[in-house]
């Protein structure tokens, strides 16, 4: 076996879990966490699954832990919000086999709806937190997290950020170890959190925190690198790498465990240096706690609270300056767009004709907010579109007759849309819910979900029938259409929004990019008929180009990009698209 390899942080976490003898792993896809489970299935002896959402994923992991297995739950930062309910109480019950929760945060919001700092969850739930700085530590800290979990009878938060998850660096591999075998032991006062038992467990939690603080004082997860005593820096995670680059000679207290904090170690370090800084991305999480220890420390007044840090920002901060990268040269942008042949495009074009209020959701289809479609009016979090639509409808004055339409994908609907739909039926709120069923969780790179007929382990599964599910919860009008057929789509939308009752439209067409669906020939553009009116450009299809020249430029199809969906053929009023090149 090659023992020195280059791994991403996510590959290293999967490897670390394997080397720890993890038996069960569950998660919900979310950038930048997704690749952990995609990699873990390559290891023998690990069962892994995509759960319908993060709450279920953590609950599966908790069950596995209580059942005696080492268990891992993986999710992105906002996913932990969904899983927060079980998290804050499993902190009381403690674990059986080691239980580790990966929270992959996204400073800079490369692919997220907010920039929340999930380190607060460790303090909130009162569970220890480890923060690796590179792939080697991602692997090592995963192993340490499982050990810590069992030693202190607590779930452990492994907190990473995009640059750690998706950065690659050199890792030394080891052989997997088999943890001490455990099995489920009935213990009602520990595992059943009724108030009387829960109150006793709270006492245990506080005692545990006190012991964890002692542990943090001496563990080698934290380390002091003495250098120039004029400047001392307390840091953790990816920020450590930036500090080493910006101030290679400074004294550094690198914290591997960032909750609870080792007060004695920090006090001693502070005494050993003339000027103390704390460098951390996002919130002043360490800074506030260190200040509460009565220590004079400089942090957020020098290092920004918004966005990612980098070596230049950190170097400037030490000098009391601020660094902003010069504006990039003015060039035509290449924003992310719906792919050529994306089944969502024709749907949104048609939906725009209804002049509806459209509550959006999280997925590829969120890209429909960008010009030229600009088709959604809101986007908050996974599954929010349906509740948002209902509230919007209730708030609308009686003379506002715009239809209210919620739009979300198959996976997002299963994640947390179904409860909203039940509400719409229960409270008889006349909104139309459009489920864009492309048979995959596409935005995160194509993961299976309960409607796709496959599991993460590659086994066949019963494919959830979305239309039957919607009917079963009491929706009377459930219409399924092919979004490549614009007339049928428009007819369905107009009907569904006119029933005066909650209704569902399911657009059914697999994702072309991920499902490698069959492509057809590109249509030809009849240059006699095309007047250059520009209507087809309102689709925002990358395959529709225009001829060079001034004034009204005639349309042209780029056959290398076109998938032959023929949505443009239906949009053109002049019949200029048709036949094949």
């Amino acid at each position: 076996m090659k023992t020195t390899v280059l791994l991403s942080g996510n590959q290293a976490i999967a490897r670390g879990a394997y080397e720890s003898g993890v038996r069960v792993a569950a998660g919900y896809p979310g950038t930048p966490s997704t690749e952990v489970l995609e990699n873990i299935i390559n290891y023998q002896g690990v069962y892994a699954e995509w759960a319908p959402n993060e709450k279920v994923a953590l609950e599966v992991a908790i069950g596995a832990s209580l059942g005696g297995a080492r268990a891992l739950a993986t999710m992105k930062h906002v996913g932990v919000n969904v899983a927060a309910d079980p998290l804050l109480t499993v902190a009381y019950t403690g674990v059986g086999g080691g239980l580790v929760l990966l929270s992959a945060d996204d400073p800079g919001m490369h692919s997220s709806q907010n920039e929340q700092d999930n380190r607060h969850y460790a303090r909130f739930a009162k569970i220890p937190m480890l923060e690796p700085s590179d792939s080697q530590e991602a692997k090592d800290f995963t192993i340490r997290a499982f050990e810590l979990s069992e030693t202190f009878d607590t779930p452990v938060l492994l907190r990473t950020t995009t640059r750690v998850n998706h950065g690659k660096s050199v890792v030394q591999l080891s052989l997997p170890k088999t943890p001490q075998p455990r099995k489920f032991e009935r213990n009602l006062q520990k595992n059943v959190m009724i108030p009387a038992y829960g109150m006793k467990r709270h006492v245990v939690v506080e005692e545990r925190t006190a012991r964890l603080k002692e542990f943090a004082e001496t563990t080698d997860l934290n380390s002091v690198e003495w250098g120039d005593r004029a400047v001392g820096v307390i840091t953790s995670g990816i920020s450590y790498e930036y500090v080493k680059e910006a101030l290679p000679d400074a004294s550094i207290l690198k914290l591997g465990i960032t909750w609870p904090l080792p007060e004695g170690l920090i006090q001693n370090f502070a005494k050993g240096v003339e000027k103390l800084y704390v460098v951390e991305e996002l919130d002043p999480f360490l800074e506030d706690q260190i200040k509460a220890m009565g220590i004079d420390v400089t942090g957020k007044e020098r290092f920004p609270i918004i966005g990612e840090l980098n070596p230049k920002i950190v170097a400037a901060g030490f000098k009391g300056e601020s660094f902003t990268a010069p504006a990039p040269p003015e060039l035509p942008a290449r924003p992310p767009v719906l792919c050529p042949g994306c089944p969502h495009r024709g749907f949104f074009y048609t939906l725009n004709k209804l002049k509806a209020v459209v509550t959006g959701d999280i997925g590829c289809y969120t890209l429909s907010v960008l010009p030229p479609l600009e088709a959604i009016d809101t986007c908050v979090c996974m599954g929010a579109s349906i509740g948002n639509a209902m509230g919007m409808k209730r708030a609308m004055p009686g003379d506002d007759d715009r239809p209210v339409v919620a739009v979300l994908g198959d996976s997002t609907f299963i994640h947390s849309g179904i409860t909203g739909l039940i509400d719409a039926v229960y409270n008889n709120t006349p909104v139309t819910i459009c489920i864009l069923d492309n048979s995959i969780t596409a935005m995160t790179g194509g993961q299976d979900n309960p409607s796709t007929g496959k599991t993460l382990m590659g086994e066949d599964a019963p494919a959830l029938n979305l239309a039957a599910l919607c009917r079963a919860v009491g929706v009377q009008d459930v219409l399924t259409v092919d979004p490549y057929n614009l007339d049928a789509t428009e007819k369905a939308l107009r009907y569904a929004t006119g029933t005066g009752k909650p209704s569902v439209v399911i657009t059914s067409r697999p994702c072309l990019l991920i499902k490698k669906a069959k492509r057809s020939a590109a249509p030809a553009v009849d240059k006699e008929k095309c007047t250059g009116c520009g209507l087809c450009l309102k689709l925002g299809c990358p395959a529709i180009e225009t001829e060079e020249g001034e004034g009204r430029r005639k349309a042209r199809i780029n056959p290398d990009l076109c998938t032959g969906c023929n949505v443009c053929t239906q949009v053109c009023r002049l019949g200029a698209f048709g036949g094949t090149e």
Binding site: S111, G167, K168, S169, K244, K312, G445
Partner: protein
């Protein structure tokens, strides 16, 4: 900043094989016993956007991202993207640019104009500019999908990596798909950079 670290930024358009190229590069650097780190952002970039990947190597690398303006080499897979990332180049650094043009939506639909005079702009800032017709070379080598490996061949002319190691890393990576074209494209890229 750390002097013994070399910074290479790869930049282009989603679908050009930039991430695969940076993986191959990192394997070759690791095989040459350097400390290596790389960083890129996954997710939205897949959807036709601009893509970049940072690769850093040396005795000991800390930050996985290249500090702004510190790239020693900019390997641009597309002409306009070389301009977009030019500010990340260190003064006097090297730009290797593929002459291929991929029109963004705004240009192909007539709302914006593809910039001209790109080579002149590059030469005004860079210490050295190497222009490669990677698309033609890859086609000649047998597959237009080998553009990325062709550009690695050009890059290899600047790097302390043994040729045999490149061959073995490329073989490992492409043993099941398009190996012959990739090995040929690599050689052609290397020769083109040597001649430039």
């Amino acid at each position: 900043m750390e002097r013994s670290v070399t910074n290479i930024r790869l930049a282009g358009v989603g679908g050009q094989g930039i991430i695969v190229a940076s993986e191959v590069l990192c394997e070759a650097l690791l095989g040459s016993r350097f400390d290596v780190k790389k960083s890129e952002v996954h997710g939205m970039a897949q959807r036709g956007g601009t893509v970049n990947s940072d690769v850093r190597f040396g005795e000991r690398v800390y930050s996985p991202t290249i500090p702004h303006g510190d790239a020693h080499i900019l390997l641009a897979f597309e002409q306009m993207e070389s301009l977009r990332y030019l500010p990340s180049l260190k003064a006097g650094g090297t730009v290797i640019v593929n002459r291929q043009r991929i029109l963004p939506g705004a240009v192909s639909s007539g709302k914006a104009v593809y910039p001209g005079g790109i080579e002149e702009t590059l030469r005004a800032r860079a210490g050295r500019v190497i222009c490669i017709d990677a698309l033609s070379l890859a086609r000649e080598a047998g597959s237009i999908r080998s553009v990325n490996v062709c550009l690695l061949g050009a890059l290899s002319a600047m790097l302390p990596i043994e040729e045999e190691l490149w061959q073995s890393v490329i073989t490992q990576r492409f043993k099941n798909k398009g190996l012959e074209a990739n090995l040929k494209a690599f050689q052609m890229g290397y020769q083109a950079a040597r001649k430039d």
